[in-house]
Subunit: 230 residues, 2 copies
């Protein structure tokens, strides 16, 4: 029997890589989707391509979408990335690295591809526990988007098929995410998490994303295989 | 006092042009948003630029988003456009000109721009009466997307501001749309509605979009200023 197709949002970081491994383990043929959205560094796209290949994705698409023309985030402009914030600071409010409506944009494009593929399953790696305070990572946002997906597509509205958004990490800690990935054989050295890596690829070790990742590995009692410049 | 900003989805056709005129009449500074999404003909982008200029938009942005890489619609592939279908056929089911999840994708990008502009008003020209059977033109879809917008953005989730989707044409007939636009002084000769115009710009007169437009002008008792090749 053919594997059921699923579109998986893949940034090339720790979370989305773990999600690809979970979708594969659940028996899906993975259609990995990454975005070239004007982000300041490109290592994450290289990592995404590597992850898609190593974890056996059926296809990896990189879609260009020009979010940079809107401005408004430190990830797409030259605003400095905040470093070495405490866990309390990270949990407090929405940081400058927030890209306006990013998950809404990414999910809508995942939905467009899913509909073209006739796939009803979409996976994404948001998590609401050890997260960066982005509003579009919360369970109620995911539920609301699922409703949009079912009302706004041919297969949902007319085909009577139910589109499902899967957010398997949503209630996991970073520690549990790391443990889950390792139990599925994921080699995290191929992932890029840092918001501000060196041109040679080393992670900064100080941005919110690095701090959350390091905390996850530390709590899991495992060495992070990523290379840090400090 | 400064005018309040609104993002208006503008394809350059009859409906979205009328919506720009309505938003202007309601006192909004219009930030018109068009998409270069791999559509087969480019006249609509020229029309959109003309409409934005003539109707006094504060800005007109054309965002590239590569829907063509997904395939799946006659508007972005070389599938033939159906011609001279009856009103009954047009009302029946979702046609091949449907672009997968198009309004979801366009609204999500409008939302991203709105958030960057700190604007809470988004206008779009969907209508549920004389429409082409697209699922993402229905009122329940619009309401569901509004919920996503308010949950998935900084200004909605944290700023306590309510994002509003305006679909002023949603319960108008094409006749009423034409009458509304004419009463606001819209010159419809600058709009492009046809799915399949000649390279020289003449409309085909036979696709669903042309048929609906011609019906609207006929019922309003006004000559359509568009040039038809038949």
């Amino acid at each position: 029997m053919d594997e059921q197709k699923a579109v998986v949002l893949l940034s090339g970081g720790l979370d989305s890589t773990t999600v690809v491994a979970i979708a594969r383990e659940r028996g899906f043929a993975v259609y990995a989707l990454s975005f070239d959205y004007g982000q300041n560094h490109r290592q994450e796209l290289d990592s995404a391509a590597r992850v898609a290949k190593v974890l056996g994705a059926a296809r990896h698409a990189v879609v260009k979408v020009d979010l940079r023309s809107f401005g408004g985030s430190a990830l797409t402009t030259d605003q400095p990335i905040p470093k070495h914030r405490s866990a309390a600071e990270i949990g407090l409010g929405i940081p400058v690295t927030y890209v306006p409506a990013r998950n809404t944009v990414f999910l809508s494009l995942a939905l467009a591809w899913a509909e073209t593929l006739d796939a009803v399953d979409i996976f994404l790696g948001v998590n609401a526990l050890d997260y960066s305070g982005y509003p579009d990572c919360r369970p109620e946002f995911i539920a609301a988007f699922e409703r949009v997906a079912n009302l706004g597509t041919k297969m949902g509205a007319e085909g009577g098929r139910r589109i499902r958004l899967h957010a398997p990490l949503i209630s996991m800690t970073k520690k549990e995410i790391v443990q889950t990935g390792l139990s599925l054989g994921v080699d995290y050295s191929m992932t890029t998490t840092c918001y501000d890596p060196a041109p040679t690829g080393e992670a900064c070790g100080g941005c919110d994303a690095c701090l959350l990742r390091l905390k996850g590995f530390a709590e899991a009692g495992v060495r992070d295989p990523a290379v840090y410049r400090q």
